[in-house]
């Protein structure tokens, strides 16, 4: 049905490589689900966009090859004909459900627009019925209400269902899904994956599914194509590629998927007094609109307690809105908790202020999620790393020496000190962020989703580095993540957080083998490709 032959998409002259996509050939049969797997910059998304005829507006266009859809070359089709195909024969779902819908239009109108565009003339009542039926197909409760809602009134999962409703509305023969579940929570991801698979089977739609996650591949793919630097590396049935990958790169990708360590490393069990003790921590946000507005109270953290010993890693796992980030910010006192105790070495830091708090702060440092936003773009890396020691009264020479040592520890050479953050890749920037935290010689490290924004292979390297550093320096670590697989790989104990509370705490092995809480069971069951890889 779809045949891509020798597709070339050149990059602008200045770019670091000449082709975004190079000599790509792929086939998709009707009713088949093909996963294109690759890391950022592999050209997988551009391939999808090229099929759709919607390459980004940077002067990108295919320079060679053809994209045959049921015999006609999409690259040679005039815009009007392509517009008639889009949405009707070929449809697309995007990665970001939060931004993929027009914020000013009711959801129902956005679905109904499709009928209007493709000349399906319907009466008012009929249109309402069709829209409601589509939403009901996607197991959205109360379709009438959803249709009347604006996007901002729906959750990420609900919005992605609306996108899928739009994509399937006119029963297209080809669906292109560009990382449609990457931005979603795991439990939602699993629901959406099942839903897509179900619709695809039911209607015999061919699906081109772009992803970076081999777990997702194992869950849904019929066939897999692995891309790297714009070229096809390996292609085959899902079972074949997962079980016997032929190419080294594929092997690396599969090996990088985080998975629980089989056996706890012997003799590593931490003992002694806790370095960090959190007791009954509570944080409620109050939101007020205007001077005379009513106040609304939103509990974010509701009585959380845990203990952490030197050399131990505790992972806090939760979905968006579970309060895990608020918790971490309360611990380092970026936010002031409403109640509860945070004690470092038995001393409550809640009552401290001014210099005493500042002095205490260096023992507890944080690594942030976004490697792009968390480093000052106008400061050299050396300055960024030195800032901490300088602020705590070390001399310039001593601070510089510390910075160089820490950068070496995280695997960056000394030349890095003179460069600016934008000259580094995401993984390197995360290393800088880590060096910055370590420069204060903390005893506790709080890492808030430190690998979520990174490619899997880079993610594996950073996780490795974190373990290494932790062992060398005897750090205690609180590792916050939404990904149970990552948590299981790094942590000695996992605390599962839901709606502001820790619902279960256990070792990774125990958690996976016998999850006690219903929510934990749902989380474990939602890990994509569990058992297959």
């Amino acid at each position: 049905m779809l045949a891509i032959r020798g597709l070339d998409i050149p990059l602008p002259i200045k770019a670091e490589r000449r082709f975004a996509v190079r000599g790509l050939s792929l086939d998709l049969a009707p009713g088949e689900l093909l996963c294109i797997v690759g890391e950022s910059g592999s050209g997988k998304s551009l391939t999808a966009r090229a099929v759709m005829g919607l390459l980004p507006d940077l002067g990108l266009r295919a320079s060679a090859g053809s994209i045959l859809f049921e015999g006609q070359d999409l690259l040679a089709l005039p815009p009007r004909r392509m517009e008639a195909l889009r949405g009707r024969e070929i449809s697309m779902i995007f990665q970001e459900p939060m931004t993929a819908l027009n914020p000013l239009m009711r959801v129902g109108d956005q679905i109904a627009e499709l009928f209007h565009i493709h000349g399906v003339r319907l009466g008012r009542a009929e249109r309402r019925e069709r829209v409601a039926a589509l939403l009901a197909d996607l197991h959205l409760p109360d379709p009438e209400r959803v249709a009347a809602a604006y996007p901002f009134e729906l959750s990420g999962g609900q919005r992605q269902r609306v996108m899928i409703a739009i994509a399937f509305a006119l029963r297209p023969r080809l669906l292109i899904a560009d990382e449609p579940t990457t931005a979603l929570d795991v439990t939602t991801q699993m629901q959406i994956l099942r839903l897509l698979k179900e619709l695809q089977r039911e209607r015999g739609t061919g699906v081109l599914f772009i992803t970076h996650d081999f777990g997702v591949v194992a869950e849904i793919a019929d066939r897999v194509a692995v891309m790297r630097h714009g070229e096809l590396v390996e292609e085959g049935t899902a079972a074949e590629v997962l079980r016997r990958p032929r190419h080294d790169y594929t092997r690396t990708l599969i090996a990088s998927v985080p998975r629980p360590v089989e056996q706890a490393e012997a003799g590593e069990a931490a003992t002694g007094a806790p370095v960090l003790a959190v007791e009954g921590l509570v944080k409620t946000f109050s939101v007020r609109r205007g001077l005379f507005g009513r106040e609304r109270r939103v509990p974010a953290v509701r009585g959380v307690s845990f203990r952490l010993r030197a050399g131990e890693t505790l992972a806090i796992v939760g979905e968006s809105g579970s309060g895990k980030t608020t918790l971490s910010r309360c611990i380092v006192r970026l936010l002031k908790p409403d109640a509860g105790r945070v004690a470092i070495d038995g001393e409550d830091i809640g009552g401290l202020g001014g210099d005493a708090l500042r002095a205490r702060r260096r023992t507890i440092q944080m690594v942030f999620q976004d490697p792009h936003g968390s480093l000052n773009p106008r400061q050299r890396v050396g300055e960024i790393v030195m800032a901490g020691p300088l602020a705590h009264g070390a001399g310039r020479a001593a601070s510089r020496a510390t910075a160089a040592r820490m950068l070496a520890l995280v695997g960056l050479d000394e030349g890095a000190m003179e460069r600016f953050p934008h000259q580094f890749s995401g993984g390197q920037r995360q290393r800088i962020g880590l060096a910055r935290a370590l420069a204060l010689e903390p005893r506790i490290l709080i890492a808030d989703e430190p690998v979520s924004a990174l490619d899997v292979t880079v993610q594996a390297q950073i996780l490795e580095l974190l373990q290494d550093v932790r062992r060398k320096l005897g750090l205690a670590m609180v590792f916050i993540t939404h990904d149970l697989r990552v948590a299981a790989q790094v942590a000695d104990r996992i605390a599962v957080m839901s709606q502001g509370e820790i619902v279960e705490e256990a070792t990774p092995q125990a958690l996976f083998a016998t999850p006690r809480h219903a929510y934990t069971r749902a989380l474990v069951a939602s890990i994509p490709g569990r058992g297959a890889i």
């Binding site: 759709m52 919607l54 195909l85 000013l104 239009m105 565009i117 001077l291 507005g293």
Partner: protein
């Protein structure tokens, strides 16, 4: 619907207006000279006794807080006082002039917003020569002082071409018939409204263009294209409304400026509005009249801001009060 919201905003607005009154009252009294001094100067021969008498007669000898309290009390009863210079109630004076200013400011506002949005849209959509032209035109109007545009307009369109009247709001010769009277006012309105509006049109055009270019790479635009919508439909149905939001916010802010800017334009075109009344009141230290004018203009600004916010809420469901 959101009556509570509007009422709440009105309560806020009343507070703002009262603060403006208090602030202006204090500022005016800090400036040297008072009506008694001016009157003494004008009468040619007067002594300390005369000044003291005048001050007592107008209550200017009272301590300032007392004067302020009296004034606020009157304002709250919708009494703007009496102009001792013009020998008429202030409310009457302002009432006579207000419609002219409102007409001028409103037409300039509507004109600048419509033209600005249109030009910004054309520039962003067609780029190239259109974009260049729009940029040049808006930069020119943005950089040129308003009074100079007004004077050039008079030279070209009134003196050279004799198309438009150069000053006033009505012809000196009487005009017969209601329709002809309206046409006459509109004829007089063209130059002042354009002069005042073109500057703001430039601001809106540039903002609209930038805003559209910002919206263009957003995901929902790609979604609309993926649905098979034509480029024209995507721009009109999806991008335009979203890109208009920042322009609307700006328009609310600028509306106040336009009311202020009209004072200048009224002077250039001898437009019989509130601006010239204010100018005269300043020269004559006519405190009460001036305060009345401030009260009325600040009320207008508050109302315009409220109106833009209500429009904003109508356009953007996310801004709706919970």
């Amino acid at each position: 619907m959101r009556l509570r919201y509007i009422l709440r905003r009105l309560a806020n607005g009343v507070l703002v207006v009262l603060l403006v009154v208090v602030f202006n009252f204090v500022i005016l009294r800090l400036a040297p000279g008072d009506p008694a001094m001016i009157m003494a100067g004008e009468s040619g021969a007067s002594d300390e006794q005369f000044i003291a008498d005048v001050r007592r007669a107008y209550g200017l000898d009272q301590p300032m807080p007392t004067q302020l309290a009296t004034y606020l009390g009157n304002v709250l009863q919708f009494d703007l006082g009496f102009s001792y210079r013009q020998k008429r109630p202030n409310a009457e004076l302002i009432g006579e002039r207000l419609p002219a200013t409102l007409l001028l400011a409103l037409s300039a506002f509507v004109l600048s917003l419509t033209l600005g949005v249109l030009l910004g849209y054309l520039a962003a959509r067609y780029r190239g020569v259109v974009d260049w032209l729009v940029s040049v035109v808006s930069l020119a109007f943005y950089a040129t002082p308003i009074f100079w545009i007004g004077l050039m307009g008079i030279i070209v369109f009134s003196i050279q071409l004799e198309w438009l009247p150069a000053f006033g709001m009505r012809s000196i010769m009487p005009v017969r018939g209601e329709f002809a009277k309206i046409a006459d006012v509109l004829h007089h309105l063209v130059l002042p409204a354009l002069t005042l509006g073109l500057f703001y049109m430039a601001i809106f055009a540039r903002l609209m263009r930038a805003s559209l270019l910002e919206v263009r790479p957003l995901d929902f635009v790609a979604t609309a294209r993926a649905k098979g919508a034509t480029i024209g439909r995507v721009w009109r149905r999806h991008m335009l409304r979203n890109a208009f939001l920042p322009v609307l916010t700006m328009a609310g802010v600028q509306a106040g400026q336009i009311v202020g800017g009209s004072i200048l334009v009224e002077t250039v075109f001898a437009w019989p509005g509130i601006g010239r009344l204010a100018f005269e009141a300043v020269l004559q230290r006519d405190y009460n009249l001036l305060l009345g004018i401030f009260l009325v203009t600040s009320t207008a600004v508050v109302l315009i801001n409220l109106a833009t916010d209500v429009i904003y809420v109508l356009v953007d469901p996310r801004a709706r009060p919970a």
